[in-house]
């Protein structure tokens, strides 16, 4: 049985971490433009992973279950 959340998705966290890092309230680190750009990339990765996981669950679904989204 395959895990639903796999290591391959860990990479998706990188833009999310970068977005947070550029929000750090410090003269040397705060870059709101880069934070916004990485946040946008992160949202795109989430959408992509969502589609991939949904497809995977539909293909691999063995038994009926409760709602996957709520």
């Amino acid at each position: 049985m395959a895990l639903t959340f796999r290591e391959e998705y860990h990479e998706n966290l990188i833009p999310g971490i970068l977005a947070e890092a550029y929000m750090k309230d410090d003269g040397e680190t705060k870059r709101l433009d880069l934070a916004a750009a990485n946040e946008k990339k992160f949202e795109a990765k989430i959408e992509s992973a969502k589609e991939d996981l949904t497809h995977r669950m539909q293909v691999n679904r063995g038994v009926k279950s409760r709602l996957a989204f709520r």
Partner: protein, 201 residues
């Protein structure tokens, strides 16, 4: 990807690697734990999918996540609201109390609608050997069908069966990246009545 690899890649993108011309502006803890957990929360909320995790046996409210101990005459059991899907279930029963012989059988997981379609008279069957788990997404409960019964000849304690669940659940609790990386790669472990692992898949 191991946490160290993730950290390395993040620092590279931030031009914040060891040995670069400036001092490091972000600590490992900030990047992996603080920001990593925020990113993980956002990811799970956004994706609304889950990891399968039978390592956490109870949720924050103390409800078992992956095992249900049945009682004779009781058919409805609470289910952790963190569980959004049951992938599979199997029941462990003691068939020979004297020699502690156990039998593990798979159970079907169905909704009420599916039960109505498949077993039209299922509501009229009151008690017997549990074969199906009926999930109820509205009340966060599961119904075991038929209702487990108690025989007259064997002590109830020895006959108490346990159901092991393979579930998908929301990751609502913050956790550190090192543990998450380990948990996400771990295989599912079934647990027997005694709590010892009996099967790995």
């Amino acid at each position: 990807m191991k946490p160290s690899e993730l950290l390395h890649r993040v620092r590279k993108r931030l031009f914040d690697e060891v040995g670069s011309r400036h001092t490091q502006y972000w600590s490992d803890y900030e990047l992996l734990v603080d920001y990593g957990n925020v990113a993980l929360d956002k990811f799970f909320l956004g994706v609304r999918k889950l990891i399968i995790d039978s390592n956490t046996l109870v949720d924050l409210a103390g409800l078992p996540l992956c095992s249900v101990s049945l009682s004779a005459g009781k058919s409805v059991y609470p289910m952790s609201p963190k569980i959004i899907e049951i992938d599979a279930a199997q029941i462990t029963v003691i068939t020979d109390p004297v020699n502690q012989v156990t039998l593990v059988k798979p159970m079907a997981v169905m909704t009420v609608g599916e039960m109505d379609q498949r077993y039209r008279l299922w509501r009229s069957i009151q008690a017997g050997d549990p074969r199906v788990i009926i999930t109820d997404m509205n009340s966060d409960s599961l119904t075991v069908w038929p209702t487990p019964e108690l025989t007259d000849t064997t002590p109830a304690l020895l006959l108490t069966p346990t159901i092991s669940l393979t579930v998908r659940r929301f990751m609502l609790q913050r956790f550190d990246m090192v543990k998450s990386a380990v948990n996400m790669c771990r295989t599912i472990t079934w647990r027997s009545l005694s709590g010892k692992s009996i099967t790995k898949i």
